[in-house]
Subunit: 198 residues, 2 copies
Amino acid sequence: MKLPLREKRRQETAFQIQKATLELAMKDGLDGVTTEEIAAASGVSTRTFFNYYPNKEAAAIGHPPAFTEEQKDALRKAEGTLATDIKQLLDGHIEALSEKEDILRMVGKVLRSNEKARGILDGNLGAERRVLTQALCDRVSNRQTAASLANSVTSTIGAAIFLWEHEEDMTLGAALDVVWEGLIDASRLLSPSNEEEI
Amino acid sequence: MKLPLREKRRQETAFQIQKATLELAMKDGLDGVTTEEIAAASGVSTRTFFNYYPNKEAAAIGHPPAFTEEQKDALRKAEGTLATDIKQLLDGHIEALSEKEDILRMVGKVLRSNEKARGILDGNLGAERRVLTQALCDRVSNRQTAASLANSVTSTIGAAIFLWEHEEDMTLGAALDVVWEGLIDASRLLSPSNEEEI
DNA sequence: GCAGAAATTGCAGACTATGCAAGGACTGGA
DNA sequence: TCCAGTCCTTGCATAGTCTGCAATTTCTGC
């Protein structure tokens, strides 16, 4: 730990700005608020706002949790079947997301109406996907197979969040289970070992 | 056909603008060119440019081909196994994309360096995905399963284009086959009927 | 050829985003 | 406790994006 204090302050301010951005955006959309308003609400100057985030959309999305090294390691060294290990990874990630449900809900709302925000998130997810693909390569040998699995992971997370947002009284974990079920079912249908024709 | 002439002109101009946008963007990125330059190169005023596209990124992406009704119908009424029908859909779509390889290559380059463009494309794909999900619902009954399959379709297309861009001397069709193989392999690994542990 | 519809354009103005340079705050060591 | 260096913040200037409005031109169908 070299710069714990400065770093911490920075993270706090970054989060502060994200919260202010999201709260303002809840009224009439992210496009309806100016960077000036956001900066004022965050207690910093407009110029400083741009030192923290390159644009409002990035500020709204913030810095979502990434997969930890332990999670990826667990994937590399097979502990169970591939399916159970992936499910475990997903469970862990969804649990991390659950810690900030309020933020997640607001981010979801922004994503639904803002293309640029989607693009930024897509870029973040793409980076995650590449890391995951790399980790999975140690296990499945074929790169395209690993890429396909990694894609399933990130899109499952997205789908679970989407479902959770639209279903009243459904926890994030429950939504994940439903989406996971769909993924497994789809895999079964596409799998060549499945001879029944549908 | 009510307004065929006007409509046709409009499409031509839209394509003209897309081409001008992409060609200018090849030099030093989409961010390196102004809407003014694009408009001038397209032979229209800046204001008119914004009548065709809401922003440069949308102009660069243009209006990519969508799935046709026949394609979706073929999916609904099972002609072969689910896997072969989906593969056929993909083949047809990739073939349509092949008609404009030059555009596709330039779009790919833009997408790699521009978040907003990615977001817009992501939005387009999301719409396609929703349509596909609906069509697949007629076949697999479970909505989550259908959604998972639809997601596989759109992300397979994206992955195929990505692979094609990065591999010299590989046709789009060949790239699709490679990615498809990966998807099937991944499905096999996730499928519960596959008992071997990996 | 004409009347009405549609598209184009110029202009004004709000907002986003970046470079630069001055000033202020914080850190670690003496 | 104080100091020097570094990092952060800020204001200002400026380039560029995008929209609304109204005038003008172009096109369509009759």
